[in-house]
């Protein structure tokens, strides 16, 4: 009896295996993988719909992409095009992409962040867009197009723009009578001294048990992106991560050491960030923030939207947080700099002429003015075409976010940026946990990183010579 059951189960499974229909031979099949998606077509269909409402099941994360693909296929009525859309999350999705690329089977089009595209461009795995764009398009993309440059060619089409800036919780500042410490003029620039004063004023013991429970600031040093989180403090000190050509680490400069020292002091001298920064993750910072126990943190293009969603789901209670956007601090006389990115379609190298043409056409179609507007509206992101900027015309908050995107720096999006992430974080962690002085941590990082880059360049030369 049990034996029959065993064998039955195996047979059932094998039958399930055979059930898939074979694909049509003369179809052109494209694989589109995206890490940017939202529920529904506009992204706002479920606003106000209760969490447990069955209507939620009507919308999926692929609705918008399905629509775009349908419109795209309509442009080619005489061809049989099949497009598989796959949405990938932001943590495990990278593994999936890497393994697919490593085994020589990448998707045809990938929509991921700029740094990821450049990581693959470094290995010559991507098609360049230079020969496929009009002057007018290039002008319309503006500065974002420049970020897609690697060794003289451009490898992605800016699509979903994003940036980093800082945000204060006005409720905490009011509670401490410290709102005057925040920058208010122009682009809301300020110095490190002013920032420290604000952080000091808002670090306090709220419930009176003798322990600090509200912090002025918090910064994650684990499983995060140094370009997004730590580098702005380096840039504000006048330091840079890479040299101009992006093939050498120069982060161990005098300015760099000062910047890292400043961050170490935030924890160990001034005590305005929670203890154990070296192990803090973005989630931990968010948890402090949502609980109203953080006065300032770093913010991104979608901060306002995710704040509204959190109010809706009850994760953030009414009256705990009021958002106040502002820029990163910098030394007097220096402009701040920030991480500005465009999640963008890139096209993997194609053997087949027709597939190449269609993949590039689809990437261009996805990034036309109308679609840029729709995506920006759905995700509260920055449109990356001048012609689509009007989407935030009547929204002062997003207009501010858009305005400070001009502090973006190419140093944030270098080909070696992503590969050196864990190395860089480890060095920062060493300094933050006082295992090493900032000087030693950064020297070690430069030595290790440049050793890797040298080997990498050798490998690429050898591969090119074959």
């Amino acid at each position: 009896m049990a034996k029959l059951l065993l064998i039955g189960m195996i047979l059932l499974g094998l039958c399930a295996c055979a059930a898939d229909a074979p694909p049509d031979e003369d179809e052109i099949r494209l694989m589109l993988w995206t890490q940017d998606y939202w529920v529904g077509v506009t992204g706002h269909e479920l606003v106000g719909v209760p969490l447990d409402d069955p209507r939620r099941a009507q919308y999926t994360v692929k609705d918008w992409y399905n629509k775009v693909v349908r419109d795209f296929k309509a442009l080619y009525p005489d061809r049989k095009i099949h497009i598989d859309i796959e949405t990938l999350d932001w943590t495990n999705g990278f593994q999936k992409i890497d393994i697919a690329v490593a085994s020589g089977r990448p998707p045809d089009i990938l929509i991921s962040t700029s740094g990821i595209a450049l990581k693959y461009a470094r290995f010559g795995l991507l098609e360049a867009f230079d020969d496929h764009l009009s002057e007018e398009d290039i002008r319309d993309f503006g500065p974002f197009y420049g970020f897609s440059e690697y060794e003289g060619k451009h490898y992605f089409l800016p699509f979903i723009g994003g940036n980093r800036y800082m945000i204060a919780n006005l409720e905490v500042f009011r509670e401490r009578g410290a709102t005057h410490l925040l920058p208010s003029e122009g682009d809301r620039l300020w110095t490190f001294e002013q920032f420290l004063a604000a952080a000091r004023a808002t670090t306090f013991d709220r419930d009176g048990d003798g322990e600090i429970d509200v912090y002025g600031f918090a910064m994650p040093f684990q499983r995060n992106s140094p370009q997004q989180d730590q580098m702005p403090f380096f840039w504000g000190h006048g330091a840079r991560q890479f040299n101009d050509s992006g093939d050498s680490l120069v982060i161990n400069s005098e300015e760099g050491v000062n910047a890292l020292q400043f961050m170490v002091d935030l924890e160990h001298v001034h005590g305005v960030v929670p203890a154990g920064s070296a192990g803090l993750r973005t989630n931990d910072v968010t948890d402090l923030w949502t609980a109203g126990r953080l006065a300032m943190r770093q913010a991104f293009h979608g901060t306002r939207l995710s704040f509204e969603r959190a109010l809706e789901t009850g994760r953030i209670k009414e009256g705990v947080i009021e958002l106040y956007p502002m820029m990163y601090p910098s030394l007097p006389g220096l402009d701040p700099a920030a991480f500005v990115v465009a999640d963008s379609p890139c096209v993997f190298r194609q053997e087949d002429e027709e597939k190449r043409e269609l993949s590039i056409a689809l990437a261009k179609f996805l990034t036309n003015t109308q679609h840029e507007r729709e995506a920006a509206y759905a995700m509260s992101t920055l449109p990356t075409r001048y012609s689509a900027l009007d989407v935030w015309d009547d929204d002062p908050f997003q207009q501010y976010v858009l305005r400070v995107a001009r502090y973006g720096t190419k140093d944030a999006i270098q080909g070696y940026g992503i590969p050196l992430v864990s190395m860089t974080l480890s060095a920062f962690q060493a300094a933050m946990s006082r295992q090493a002085t900032p000087r030693k941590a950064l020297d070690d990082l430069a030595r290790r990183g440049n050793r890797f880059i040298r080997r990498d360049i050798e490998r690429r030369l050898r591969a090119g010579a074959e």
Binding site: Q95, F123, I418, V421, S422, R455, D456, R459, A463
Partner: protein, 294 residues
């Protein structure tokens, strides 16, 4: 001649092994061979491998991180494997001695439960337990006037924290297996021992433990492999940090492969890891595998 005859006589043995070996050949050995070969090559995704001899090995062995990761991995394994095994043996013994079947089931389920939850979820839960500001561990310890500790955020404590987590959560499988094996020991042996006047402790030493040897060997080998290859917790919880304090070998291999796209170095390191594991397994086998006599 006599060999072919023996082979023919034992044809059933080969027949029984045929299907598993075929499947292994395609889905395990082929990928394994590819990995080993890549250790002697430089490979770029989408391109052809370029043979580079021992260069990857030289590069890997000259990397101070490799040695650090090896040290961390050995430390982790030496801490977790014996402790877990001893605790499992003890717990299995106590559970097996419970009079009522339902009590056994309850305790076996209790220890087995953590194993039914995926490693990713458990990692999230432990991150919360370890959280310096809001975690349960510091909260509980605060009543004893201890802490707060930084746990995984402190380079000195991060690895011990991961080891603690492994030792606390990993007994379900071992207990299930050990109690099952104890159930397989003929009760006549114990009766005979009792007639000889042996107490429970002597019975355990003289009968239970020797007869559990194949099971213990299995647990030892597989848990050594698992500890040597510890990965999910590191990826989910510490990202190898802080300051490389939890960069285990497999995590290093993973970053070499997928962050640096240096598959040659990663494969060389994986081969070295496999060879060390093979060495350890042979030693463990030599130590424990002498055949059990009935």
């Amino acid at each position: 001649m006599s060999l072919t005859r023996t082979i023919f006589r034992e044809r059933w043995a080969y027949l029984f092994l045929l299907l598993p070996l075929l499947l292994f050949a395609v889905f395990n050995m082929l990928p394994m061979a590819a990995t080993i070969l890549l250790g002697f090559a430089d490979y770029f995704p989408g391109g052809q491998p370029v043979w580079t001899g021992l260069e990857n090995y030289a590069y890997a062995l000259s990397d101070d991180l490799f040695w650090k990761a090896l040290g961390i991995t050995v430390l982790y394994t030496c801490g977790v494997v014996p402790a877990s095994l001893l605790i499992s043996l003890f717990l299995a013994y106590v559970i097996f001695g419970l009079k009522y079947a339902w009590a056994q089931v309850i305790f076996k389920s209790a220890f087995y439960l953590p194993v039914v939850t995926s490693g990713a979820i458990l990692s999230l839960v432990w991150l919360w337990l370890f959280n310096p500001a809001r975690g349960l561990l510091n909260y509980v310890l605060s009543f004893a006037g201890m802490g707060p500790y930084l746990w995984t955020s402190d380079p000195q404590m991060a690895l011990p924290s991961l080891m603690f987590m492994a030792i606390m959560g990993g007994h379900g499988a071992a207990i299930v297996l050990l109690t099952a094996a104890m159930g397989g020991i003929p009760s006549t042996y114990y009766e005979a021992a009792r007639l000889d006047g042996a107490g429970p402790w002597r019975q355990y030493w003289k009968i239970t433990l020797p007869l559990l040897r194949p099971t213990v060997l299995y647990l030892l080998v597989t848990s050594t492999i698992a500890s040597f290859q510890v990965f999910t917790q590191v990826l989910m919880m510490t990202g190898g940090g802080p300051d490389y304090a939890t960069t285990t070998l497999v995590y290093l291999i993973y970053t070499d492969a997928f962050e640096y796209f240096d598959f040659g170095k990663a494969s060389a390191e994986a081969t070295l890891l496999s060879l060390s594991l093979a060495g350890i397994a042979v030693l463990q086998y030599k130590w424990l595998a002498s055949d059990v006599e009935y």
